[in-house]
């Protein structure tokens, strides 16, 4: 990567991407039930955003873009950060990428969460951990030392490589954006996959289930479980209903804090009356 910058073209430097890698270690620090890692993602992107956007207005637009919901496996946040850096670069050079960036993030975060959890947490770490614990139980200091060294060699170098790989891939994708309607296509593809992923997430990351049983006759064995009835009609009925309700209320202009408060009140009332558990 060349360090010499042209006057017109804004470009991310290698140093910026190294900083993004380092900062990605903080991606979970403000994790919350509403939008998960979004602020951590914005924090990790800051070296890139500062390089590309010099005015308060530009910075504000970029920050707002990254305050939208984001959650993935922390080790797999890096390829997404890299691609985003490449797309932000195009955006800074005059092409509006707002929708493409957001669609791409949503499209990637779901599958990467699945791959990362399975590969890093489920496989690599379990093996190293078991070896380390075995050594520790024999009274060897090598146990914890071996585990920490091998695990971090793997995860840190993967995250470093993936940041740059993501960036290069992103640059490759957007290279001929001006020639054809590539941007239009990327935005559409990202939007479509993003909506599919969103549908999956609504069904799998929101958990609501009711323990309510409806008695039929005298025998408690005959009681009908309400959750089962609902699952027979449409599994995930309540999560879908809640999401649509929230989306509708937001579109009506209801403040998010009121909706938040409503959910809390509902959760407490529903728990104490035994409707949800």
């Amino acid at each position: 990567m060349e360090l010499s910058e042209k006057q017109v073209e804004k470009k991310v430097t290698k140093k910026d991407l190294v900083k993004v890698w380092w900062r990605s270690l903080f991606i979970m620090s403000t994790i919350n039930y509403e939008r998960f890692q979004s602020m951590g993602f914005a924090y990790a992107m800051l070296p890139v955003l500062r390089r590309l956007y010099k005015t308060k207005e530009e910075m504000s637009a970029a920050l707002k873009r990254h305050m939208r919901m984001f959650n993935t496996n922390p080790y797999f946040s890096n390829p997404i950060l890299g691609v985003t850096a490449a797309l932000e670069e195009v955006n800074a050079n005059g092409q509006d990428m707002n929708e493409a960036i957001n669609g791409m993030k949503v499209a990637l975060m779901g599958p990467f969460a699945g791959i990362g959890d399975g590969l890093f947490d489920g496989t690599i770490r379990s093996i190293l951990q078991a070896i380390g614990a075995g050594l520790a139980l024999q009274g060897s200091v090598l146990g914890p030392v071996f585990f920490l060294l091998t695990w971090n060699a793997v995860q840190l170098s993967f995250r470093y490589w993936a940041t740059f790989y993501g960036y290069k891939t992103g640059v490759g994708i957007v290279k001929d954006i001006k020639e054809s309607n590539v941007l239009n296509k990327i935005t559409k593809i990202a939007g479509v996959i993003g909506l599919v992923v969103l549908g999956v997430l609504v069904a799998s990351w929101i958990t609501m289930s009711t323990p309510v049983k409806i008695a039929v006759g005298q025998d408690p064995k005959n009681a009908i479980q309400l959750q089962q009835v609902m699952d027979n009609i449409l599994p995930g009925m309540m999560p879908l209903g809640l999401t649509m309700l929230v989306a509708w209320l937001l579109r009506k202009g209801i403040k998010i804090n009121y909706i938040l408060l409503g959910i809390f009140i509902f959760a407490f009332v529903a728990t104490y009356t035994g409707f949800l558990a």
């Binding site: 919901m69 914890p144 959910i263």
Partner: protein, 262 residues
């Protein structure tokens, strides 16, 4: 070493290890294997630390952080189990059982932080509006520090006042409140999803949301499988409906064939 000083040391070590879970790094200093070793190190009994850490590690081997769920807190639990085993000569197994209330308290605190940080998130919206990037950094470091406390506070209480004091504290929190917080935690992602849905909403693309939802709800498809179906659907969609302004001559033929059959 006075009890206060010991409690402080254990709290700092446990807090730093706990911080690793969400606050910073995911270097896995949070694992019992490491926590046991480090607590043993500061209390001057590495051997016991290794034994407790190793055995708690095997107990919690299956505990991984997936999606949006918060599992039982092995970090704080192991820090205390090690301290108990070293300070009172308890068996590692018995010590880790005794440390369960500490694990529960730390877990509860994490859940509370995930909830409280929604407020931080909303403050983040405000500073983003102002383009105040420094404030985003400050909030991030603040979050890291809070997770230090999530581990340090229960650890200090348990060593200084005894595990029974922590047990009494946990008992004060009504079960229903714990359940209600969990229920709310299960519902709250709907806020983020609702916002995303509104932003990505496009009448023509709504079918894809339905496909994704049905794939997960009925077919129990995972995210990777669903994304692949999504990718296939997206490519198909573009070939069929979005060829109007295509300028690639090499693809022209394909497009024509598809659009006439349409």
């Amino acid at each position: 070493m006075s009890l206060f000083f010991k409690a402080l040391l254990v709290a700092i070590v446990t807090g730093l290890c706990e911080m690793d879970i969400y606050g910073w790094g995911q270097l896995m200093t949070e694992r019992p294997l490491i926590v046991g070793f480090l607590v043993g190190l500061v209390l001057g009994d590495i051997k016991t630390g290794l034994l407790v850490g190793g055995s708690v590690e095997l107990m919690y081997l299956g505990v991984i952080y997936v999606g949006a769920a918060i599992p039982p807190d092995a970090t704080a639990g192991c820090g205390i189990a090690t301290a108990l085993a070293i300070m009172s000569g308890m068996e590692p197994k018995a010590a880790s059982t005794l440390a369960i209330p500490v694990a529960v308290l730390a877990s509860f605190l994490s859940m509370a932080v995930w909830t409280l940080f929604i407020g931080l998130m909303h403050h983040g919206d405000k500073v983003a509006e102002e383009g105040n990037d420094r404030a985003i950094e400050k909030m991030t470091y603040f979050g890291t520090f809070v997770y230090f406390l999530v581990g340090a506070i229960p650890a200090f209480l348990a060593v200084f006042f005894g595990v029974n004091a922590v047990k009494a504290m946990v008992a004060v929190i009504p079960d229903k409140v714990m359940i209600a917080l969990k229920v709310a935690g299960g519902m709250l992602p709907a806020l983020g999803f609702g916002m995303l849905f509104n932003m990505m909403y496009d009448k023509k693309l709504v079918p894809f949301f339905i496909i994704g939802f049905a794939a997960a709800a009925f077919l129990k498809l995972g995210l990777i499988a669903a994304a692949l179906f999504g990718l296939g659907a997206a490519l198909l969609y573009i070939q069929i409906f979005d060829n109007g302004s295509s300028s690639r001559p090499s693809q022209g033929n394909n497009h024509k064939v598809v659009s006439t059959s349409n």
